[in-house]
Structures are given as structure tokens and as C-alpha cells.
Symmetry: C2
């Protein structure tokens, strides 16, 4: 594998800042460069020392990079790729941390020069918080990270990106963009839509009496609306199918409740309980969560 | 207020065990007596020392009680009330920790002697865990506790129960059973149904890649199925209305996604985000959650 000397991260929100922090701490000898289009974010990032260098100009930021990581809202990717294309070194790898992958691959194929390699990355980590101030150098420790490849993906670049996330503490898997987007619709985008719908279905007055159940069930709905709107818009069909499946399950429960069918209610609840128990067992075993 | 000498708790699961522990720790001079119909639970409770005394016989457990607290699944209340009715002292107060209130009030009116007073209690505390081993003496600290009263509720008994929960660290409010059941359907029972439906809509294989978002959104679905079936069955109409409201919100999001209407998607997500932000502010201010 080619030696890694510089990683440049575009966008210094929760994920971007965590990435520059993790690179600085875990990858000896690799320079972590950051860029944000907001002056205030750049100043905050410098004051916090989250990267070796924070650049004022995006082209300066990417010029010497071996790997450029896009950590901005997905719908900015195409424009950013177009903007940086001619400033990237031959052999440079562009990757990202976005939550959908089909469109980014299309944009990269359309926009990036032939001697620059795109690989999709999706570290499944983060929280409902936003901003560099929530960056953590251990955000990726024991996280799953999905890499996406197409038939034209450069094998060495894929290997290089896999090593990067592995070195940052992730369990890496590789799949096609379409499979990634189907999977993530189910385990991440649908829960987000569900949480938002639950809050929107609740009156602010009632919510004041809510306990931990409501608070946890709705947590992800506190995520940044613009970032999530980009995710939903770039994975529409998969998410709509998920909403239909969820509505079907809600309908099943409603019918059982309407019919006072305690056995069927208990069966549906117990199916969820035991499925989730297996999930938690798996997560504990792989140290993705702590007991 | 009449002096409190003995509280007897029927059912030693998470809530019952936490209650005997909290009474023992926080209410000096009050004897905490526990009972479970399961021998293994009684033995576990004795070994853990969660109450001053654990009785083998339910009538022995309630005979000298000033307050009897039902901490069993709701659908057992009517039978237990009938069983203990003739062993209760005149002036004894019966209350509970159940999550629905309309039916318990009806059962109490039908079953308990005139000289025994029923007040509904619902400390909004707990978790998805079950069993005495998860009991915590601080479970009720800073929790909301809703008391329910009807036109016939004895005022002194209500006052006595209010002081009990206040002394255990709760913020107490009082309402009619129907209002309680409407409110709880929205802030607790609907989130439970939602979480269960979300898990049931997901494939076990996909779930293995889930991150914290899915795990938190689905947490309450790990709650005991029999206890939750009783809750859903005793609050059916309110929960069905909630499911319809939620389905309507999901439909709104689906339509916006289908139409690629980024502005509408962002508006819906941002409405949820800001509503939840106000909720979290309120909870932090009242120390119901920690930052």
C-alpha cells in the first residue's frame, strides 16, 4: 500500500471533526488537514486544535492530500467534487462519510478525473448532535464501517480506504452502493423518519410528562434537519418501502388491539422483544455497545 | 395526615422491588413488606434484602398495611383486589403503579370494601428491564408521578398517597383516569408500539449492522411482552387513535419524499427537531434527565 502522508477532511461537523481528531491521534505520521466553508467553524476548529492544519481555501486543503474525505451534507458532494477535481493529485483517493451511496458514486464517475479514485465510506457512528465541538477521537472505535464499490472501483484505492478505517478502529465491510442504500434505509433512515413522525404526532404539552421511553425512542429526531433531508432525498424509494413496511406492522398491532386479541398483541410484542434481544446480544459480543 | 407504619407491595418486579427499596431507604420508620406469587422471586427478594419482610402469603402481606401498592401486570389487579378485599384494615389505602388507570378505578369501585380507599398512582419511571434484580432505590428520584382520582376518591387518601410519592422524590400531578390514559397513550404506549413495529419491520440480518440510532429508537421494544400487552389491552381506543396520528405523519413524510420535495421534508424534520429540543430543555431544567 502506498504510504499515507495527508488526509484532508472537507466539512468539520461532528463527523469531520471526529475524523481529523482520530487521524491525529491514531495514525502516526499522517497529517490531518481540515476545511470548512464557514469561517466561524474554521476558527473554532483551530482554537480546539482538532487538526494539524485548518485551511481557509478548499483547493489549498485538498492539493497535497492522499485521501480527501467529504464530510458535508450529501447534496453538496457533486458541487464540491466539481470544484476540487482539477486540484487533486494524480492517484488521490476521494471518499466520504455520507449516509447514502448510489448518487455519490454517480457524481464521482461524472465529475472526478480518471486518475482520481472514488470509494464510498460510511462509518456507522455519530449522534443527534452537530458541530465540531462534539467531535470525539474515539467516535469510530468498534463502529461498523461500510465501504461501497462499483465495477470500476480501483482495487488499490479500496484497499487503502479499508486500511484507513480499520486503523481507526472500525469493523469494515464492503458492498455495492445499492445494497448499502437498501440496508441503511432499514436500519438508520427509517428509524429517523419514525422518530420524527412520533414527535410530530405528539403535542408539546403532553410531551412535557414524557419519560425515558419517549426520550430515547425520539432521540434521533434531534439530528440536523438539513443533513437528514439530504439523506432522505437521496434514498427515497428505499425509505418509502420502509415506511410502508412499518405502517403495515403498525396496522397489525392496531387490528389486534381493536379486536382485544391479547394473544396476538403479546405475540407481536414478544416477536419484537426477542428479535431485539438477539440484536443486543450480538452488539455486546462485538463490543459495539457496552452492557 | 395519618401516620404511615407499613407499606405492602404486591409484585416484586423492577417497579415493586424499587419501591420497597426506596421506602426502606427514604421513609424512616415505615416498614416495607413485599409479596410475589412466585416462590423464586420471594427467595431472590429475601436474599437481596430489598424489603423489611417478604411474605409467603398475600393476605399476611396486606393485613397490617396502611398502604397496599399493586405492582403486578394490570390485568391481575381485579383478581388481586377481590382476593385481598376482606383482609384489608378499615381506612387502608390501595394504590398501584400501573400504566393505565380507567379500568383499575372501575375494578376498585366494584371490588374493594367502602372503608378501603383506592387512589391510582403512576410513577413514570422504569426501563425495558424486568425483575427484582434491576430494582433501584433511586428509580423514582425526579420522576413524574401522576395520581388519578374520580369524584368518589377519598381526599385524605389522595393527600396521603401524594405525600408518599413526594417523599420518594417524585414530582406529583393529579388528574382524572381518562385524561391520564389519553396522555400516557401518547407519550408512552404509542412509543412502545412504534418501537415494536419498527423491530418487526426489520430483518434480523439487516439489524446486525444497526448503529446507536436503531438501538435507541427500538429500546422500549425490549420491555416485557405480557406487561405491555396488558397496557395496550386496557387502553385500546387511545392507542389506536395514536397509531392513526402516527401513520398520518409517516404518510406526510412519505409523500414529501416521493415528490422529492426537499423543502417540505426539511420542514417536517425541523419541526420534530425543534419540538424535541424544547422537550429536552424542559427535562434538563427540571433535572428529570442529566445533560
Amino acid at each position: 500500500l502506498k504510504e499515507l502522508r495527508q488526509i484532508s477532511v472537507i466539512g468539520l461537523g461532528l463527523l469531520g471533526a471526529s475524523l481529523t481528531l482520530a487521524v491525529s491521534r491514531l495514525l502516526g505520521g499522517v497529517k490531518a488537514v481540515g476545511y470548512s466553508h464557514r469561517r466561524s467553524t474554521r476558527e473554532k476548529a483551530r482554537a480546539m486544535g482538532i487538526a494539524h492544519e485548518v485551511k481557509d481555501d478548499i483547493l489549498d486543503a485538498v492539493r497535497d492530500a492522499d485521501i480527501v474525505v467529504l464530510a458535508t451534507p450529501i447534496c453538496t458532494f457533486e458541487e464540491i467534487m466539481g470544484c476540487i477535481a482539477s486540484s487533486l493529485r494524480p492517484g488521490c483517493i476521494v471518499t466520504d462519510v455520507g449516509s447514502t451511496k448510489s448518487l455519490p458514486h454517480k457524481w464521482a464517475a461524472k465529475t472526478l478525473p480518471k486518475n482520481v479514485h472514488f470509494v464510498g465510506s460510511h462509518p456507522i457512528a455519530g449522534s443527534e448532535q452537530r458541530g465540531a465541538e462534539f467531535g470525539r477521537d474515539d467516535l469510530f472505535t468498534n463502529a461498523n464501517c461500510i465501504l461501497t464499490r462499483t465495477r470500476t472501483t480501483n482495487a488499490a484505492a479500496l484497499k487503502r480506504v479499508r486500511k484507513l478505517w480499520h486503523d481507526l478502529g472500525c469493523r469494515v465491510s464492503i458492498m455495492a452502493p445499492a445494497e448499502h442504500d437498501r440496508l441503511l434505509a432499514n436500519i438508520s433512515h427509517l428509524p429517523h423518519v419514525t422518530a420524527a413522525a412520533l414527535v410530530n404526532a405528539s403535542s408539546p404539552r403532553d410531551m412535557l410528562m414524557a419519560g425515558r421511553g419517549f426520550i430515547d425512542t425520539s432521540r434521533v429526531a434531534s439530528g440536523p434537519a438539513n443533513i437528514w433531508a439530504d439523506i432522505l432525498i437521496t434514498n427515497g424509494p428505499n425509505i418509502c418501502r420502509g415506511i410502508e413496511r412499518l405502517s403495515g406492522e403498525l396496522e397489525k398491532l392496531k387490528k389486534a388491539i381493536r379486536k382485544n386479541d391479547e394473544r396476538q398483541i403479546e405475540k407481536l410484542l414478544d416477536s419484537a422483544r426477542s428479535k431485539r434481544a438477539r440484536l443486543i446480544q450480538h452488539k455486546l459480543k462485538h463490543r459495539e455497545i457496552l452492557s
